[in-house]
Symmetry: C2
Subunit: 496 residues, 2 copies
Amino acid sequence: MSYNKAPSITAETINPKVKIFNYEPCGEIVRHAERLQQEMDENPDSLPFPEVIQCNLGNPQVLGQRPITFFREVLCLCDNPDLLNKDEARALFSPCAIRRARRIINSVPGKDSGGYTSSRGIKSLRQAVANGISARDGYLSKPDDIFLTDGASAAVNTMMQILIRSHEDGILCPLPEYPLYSASIILHGGTMVPYNLTEDRGWGLQIFEVKRCLEEARSAGLTVRAMVVINPGNPTGQVLSITNQEEIVEFCRKEGLVILADEVYQDNVYVENKKFHSFKKVARSLGYDEKDLSLVSFHSVSMGFYGESGRRGGYMEITGFGDDVKRQIYKLASVTICPNIAGQILISLVMDPPKLGDESFETFEAEKEKIHSSFLKRAKTLEKAFSSLEGVSCNKIEGALYFFPRLHLPSLAIKTAESEGVSPDVFYTHRLLDATGIAVVPGSAFHQASGTIHIRCTILPDEDKIATMIPRLKAFHESFMNEFRGSEPYMNDLRR
Amino acid sequence: MSYNKAPSITAETINPKVKIFNYEPCGEIVRHAERLQQEMDENPDSLPFPEVIQCNLGNPQVLGQRPITFFREVLCLCDNPDLLNKDEARALFSPCAIRRARRIINSVPGKDSGGYTSSRGIKSLRQAVANGISARDGYLSKPDDIFLTDGASAAVNTMMQILIRSHEDGILCPLPEYPLYSASIILHGGTMVPYNLTEDRGWGLQIFEVKRCLEEARSAGLTVRAMVVINPGNPTGQVLSITNQEEIVEFCRKEGLVILADEVYQDNVYVENKKFHSFKKVARSLGYDEKDLSLVSFHSVSMGFYGESGRRGGYMEITGFGDDVKRQIYKLASVTICPNIAGQILISLVMDPPKLGDESFETFEAEKEKIHSSFLKRAKTLEKAFSSLEGVSCNKIEGALYFFPRLHLPSLAIKTAESEGVSPDVFYTHRLLDATGIAVVPGSAFHQASGTIHIRCTILPDEDKIATMIPRLKAFHESFMNEFRGSEPYMNDLRR
């Protein structure tokens, strides 16, 4: 399009903070997968695979996960409260969904679900969230510490906007990282202070490494304000040990850092020897209260066994900040007026699900258990399949919806990638997608350690899909390795 | 709360951009109204009025406006697509709502309503919005120019983030203004360049005044990037004449300014001699196309006859920007992943409502007409009541949901306010609220011209409420004027 002088906005003249950040999960590989899908829709036999399998995104319901019946019944009734008074509705909705929806609607200003709410969310729903947190942790949570939000990403953005004053403010973030954090820090004009997770120790966090990074940042003149911890981990799929969490709490308390705890995978843990513990619970167990530590916990309706990603619901629990800071957070939230009501309702249901005695309880438990045990099976199957590939090492999938295997590729593959002007992980993922229809994300999107090659893959495709996907993956990988092997030996022993 | 050294975040050490902006619609008067409401709930006879009437917020459904049946039926079915296959549902939902919900669900990735969507919104819904715009304007709208958003406020924030690089970038905004704009400009580090609307000319916009402000800003070294126009106007309730709109288009084209057109009140026009015309339609009618003018139009599900404010749905139509800029907007949108699905569905219904022949058509038209004609009556009644008050002048309420009358208060009232450390408008609104339960917003929240005193009042309370509210208002105002009159004469002739 050729412009005459008037329209002066081009990609060269927009806000440079927008221009420079990278956001690869929605980048080239996704677009390429979409193109292939479209090609396939138009001409089903044109490609060498039967379907595109999106292992690139943590998007449960698009990959076939069924929603929790009780949640949708309540949502549906709240959308159309007239149904609550109709006899015919009793044939379609469980009695406890009707009761819950009535209770919610009666607590909402205007007694319908279409008005603006308080910018921090409807009080009764914040109370439900606080009750759920109290029951989970065994420590009291207060509704006035809860802000309901349009998902966790919006909440993270709000906190970055509150904390970052200039590029001299640093935020500690794990590497490999979920790129929401770097994007949000850049957009708000701050500096990311990365600390490395240790792949050799199952992507564990080593506090001396965090301390090293903090000190380096401080000697470079940065004021480090907060430490981001993602537990269970994205993209790494690890679950922190409680000892590790205690070290983090002690460290942040001592150094005066806010803990920004991304706890959106709290219902996704797959190993017997580890459990999810919130950072608030760990801090309170150590005897630290609000005056000792500033802590923000993020949660959302997108993951877990609920997977209501597109609904955009979540909360942040803010403790250890003065009322004056909370008032500023409230004011900032009020610029976009309020979080969406369906998301508010859903997060209240996630934190306050049906109880024993409710008519929906057994169905709810069965649906939850079915999804959870399937995640467990899929995690094991995928971990085993990837670990069996030549030159691939894969840590245990302990939690979240992802794993982040490392690839040791032949040097000819690396050189070929270089000659094509792309990094080896991008080269591999494109080859994989073109040959098999399997879309995964190159590790560079998550700032993998330099000189290493990773991919992030989700465990979300259902068991049948995984069963058809694994032989395709194995065949591709074998042929890829053979193509580029040259005179190199087989790369089977990767124990480091 | 007393902190030891560790937690270092206080209101003094947060991002100063957050600290300095003002956002009064959610400010002190709202909190005070909430306190009174709570007092009344706990002790119904404790206050000298029977109820708190919220005339401070454009929040239709909380003030009793009924939602459009068809919209809620479709939303409800999309929340729980299992209903689409149940016979019992036919007794509860209209056939065309069932058809529409089925069409929507079939077009959504995963064929359910819980997954992440594209960051710009679901394609079929963007197509529905584009079709609605094309039908409204008589000029083609393309789905690739549409970004679905969590309401208009989120969209405005996105565009400010794109346009503003530093405090040397200016954005022209009307005064009195809807404070979203100043808040968003401050938060993104830019400079607001205010231009005055002319109260004497029914809050009309005079292009020579805008030009004067532009030139002043440029000589102060600012790069002015865009001009915000709110039409119909908030807080002023005016509707721009088409000649005025043409002048704005010519001016922005010539000066290379992006038009940021806040068109969220497009379905709220109450006068015979004016109609809503989108800026895009005006520009195209003048023969200007994409290469001549950069234009963003904002719309939402919050206002109009639909009033689904808490749902947070909206769109922006972006024309006259290159694909490279649109890619950056897409990337920015992807940081919060996607707009909420219920909001996406609702804005598609607003722009593509039932048509003649659909089973819901007559009900839909009747509901719409009932709300619209009631708005018309309320606007006339309130305009007449306020105009009849001593010392109050009130422009015609042409559109939107507000009016912004000017108060000429006795000098003793102004002095008393000063002695209490508040501005006269704040003094008046608090007195009004305490005496009558009527909550309105002081004009200073909207940056009224200095030396003037205004209040913003919505037309949203229903007709019965308005009928009981007016005698209370009149009695209060008379007694207020008498209390502060001293030796001043009656202030009846305000024609200027």
